[in-house]
Symmetry: C2
Subunit: 385 residues, 2 copies
């Protein structure tokens, strides 16, 4: 298939580009490189030095096994989908993708809470990039399957079971299938809720086909392809802005700091391994939604509370656990039960979080501990100023 | 009270500014004048010549009865809330409003469907203006009551009763009060859904107080204040982009065209008189929501199908009715039952759509029929290109 990947320079976009190319798909890898700007702006770097986007694409071209490295290619293009709709439109028109995988969004809740400006920039970037995508698909490839990365955080923590995007309700004796209502916990998560509403409308009113993947927290540093060369590694953020909780805990353990749990740590979230992300995206690609269908999958494999994760890592490595005041506004003791059967029904075999995975990740983090900037491990962005 | 009105040069913003001033409130009337630009862009004008924003404010100052024209004032400021957040912030800081009434949004569904650019501009303008408002309130007047104009169109046409913003559900044996799920029918309506989600979060996470008024279709040309002088009139749009259905039908009747019903005309919507809009906003102002509360009122007084309205006007004036292909994607035969008891509970006495109202409106339209541009009465913006 001809697959366009937006946000192809990112933590997931880059491994997805290599993986789907290795499966024999032609890849147009597109990125506006904003993530590198946002990192520079807040003064953080990934743990391992990252090659440029152009270097990665070249390294992959040189190194990828000849049986899949010849005919199908990864072509990289620098294009900001939000601010350069005309160039993006040209790329869509010329490449004629069968599917577009859309990761091209500002991905951090804390970043969106730094200031009014970062909130507005986050919502503008994410909402406008998705709208520009919708219009280019309508114009040139209306049958193209849009695979959009959303997040489980869009749902928030309702007191009822979380379904996969839709909810069957009976109200005052009448029935309807309604969009599952969302009450997320950050400006960033809200931007994804807006995207989902816009995408659902584009299916209903214009006949597009969309799969919205509401993903849990992804962990892991490696995929089959990143192992091939250090020049193919993906980003590993451990800081309090762009790093997710497992990464942050491992970095704290590596430099001898206590694992900082926000508040009581009773916050429960869905998690999945980066290799499962690639597999889920591939399953969506191979099983497209119908024309006019807005399909939602909840994409995670298991759930943990933050305290459970801290205890697990502490038990394995021996680090201390320390509660810090929660910088976010969120429930710390809540019901959490989310349906996530659609992807296993399509064939997903979950890679659960084993001690071996944590130990391998920790070994890499510990080996590179001199590169850890301890000043960015604790949160300094507060939801309430 | 000190009341800031955003979008004060608009169809509702201007009469609201005069009315609330007449009730003794100090008014800071703010508008970026974009609506005048959008009208020029699509080549339409209101039926009656509109004075400039600055002229209106001066006329009101000169004419308003001395008992309320002295101490409390209407001060007008030209400021685009979406693109000039620093000047807007300065206005909020200096005026210290007790309440802010937010009408400052691109208000037309057809406009948002002209092109990719008008869709993006609509969502960007509306979402960013509301975010900038939220941040200035947080910074300077966190106790200020935000009264936001939403629309009944946000809900779409679900097969269950529409509640006022929130829905009590029992699902798999567990209970929750969830945001009423929304599936609107245009990019414009979606922008208001995004606003509502952002505002709900600002209440829940930052303790703001918000009333979201989901308004029906407003009709009427006059309020107690607009009658005082032709220089105080409000805009009356009859075109297919900015004009609502009653206005359009009256203009068509006045020039001897058939009343153009979109599709079967079974589309049912809530309606209210412009004088009731002013009263509803005043009731919200006098009865603010609690700190941290996201309160939603459904603001309409009666409901009609489009065909019922056409038949009513046809019966009164004698015009022919003609169905035209529906340019929108919407259900033309659907269930529609929306709760709207909160505002009557606060004291709203509805002004229902009487024949006298229609006849008075028609008399003005007919008298000015030479100013009607017949080329803008039929829809040329289609949801599906």
């Amino acid at each position: 298939m001809r697959v366009m990947i937006l946000g192809a320079d990112g933590y997931l976009g880059w491994p997805t580009s290599m993986y789907l190319n290795a499966q024999g798909h032609d890849i147009l890898a597109v990125d506006g490189l904003n993530k590198r700007l946002w990192e520079a702006e807040v003064g953080v770097q990934p743990l391992l030095p990252l090659p440029t986007f152009q270097e990665r694409v070249k390294t992959w071209y040189d190194i990828s096994p000849s049986d899949f490295g010849r005919a199908p290619k990864v072509v990289g293009k620098v294009c900001d989908v939000a601010t350069n709709p005309s160039y993006f439109d040209k790329l869509v028109k010329e490449f004629e993708p069968d599917a577009i995988i859309h990761y091209a969004e500002q991905p951090s809740a804390p970043y969106s809470h730094i200031s009014a400006r970062t909130c507005v920039d986050t919502q503008r970037n994410n909402v406008v990039s998705t709208l520009n995508l919708i219009f280019s698909v309508l114009r040139h490839v209306p049958d193209c399957h849009i695979i959009k990365l959303g997040t489980m955080g869009e749902y928030g923590t309702p007191n009822i079971d979380i379904e996969e995007g839709w909810l069957d309700v009976i109200h005052k004796g009448r029935e309807d299938r309604i969009l599952y209502p969302k009450r997320p916990g950050s400006w960033y998560h809200l931007s994804k809720v807006h995207d989902s509403h816009n995408l659902e409308f584009s299916c209903r009113a214009m006949g597009l086909r969309v799969t919205d993947l509401n993903q849990g927290v992804v962990y892991g540093m490696h995929t089959d392809e990143t192992w091939l060369s250090s020049g193919l590694c993906t980003s590993f953020h451990y800081d309090a802005i762009f790093g997710t909780v497992i990464n942050r805990f491992l970095a704290q353990a590596a430099v001898g700091m206590p694992l900082s749990v926000y508040g009581s740590g009773g916050q429960t979230r869905g998690f999945l391994n980066i290799t499962d992300t690639l597999k889920c995206v591939e399953l969506a690609l191979e099983n497209p939604s119908e024309s006019g269908e807005f399909r939602v999958f909840n994409q995670f494999t298991e759930q943990f509370s933050i305290r459970e994760l801290a205890e697990r890592i502490s038990g394995l490595i021996g680090a201390e656990i320390r509660s810090v005041p929660n910088p976010r506004v969120e429930q710390e003791d809540h019901y959490y039960s989310a349906v996530h059967t659609a992807l296993p029904d399509l064939g997903l075999l979950p890679t659960l979080l084993g001690d071996d995975t944590l130990e391998k990740m920790y070994a890499t983090v510990h080996k590179n501990r001199d590169r850890i900037d301890q000043s960015v491990l604790l949160p300094d962005v507060k939801w309430k100023q």
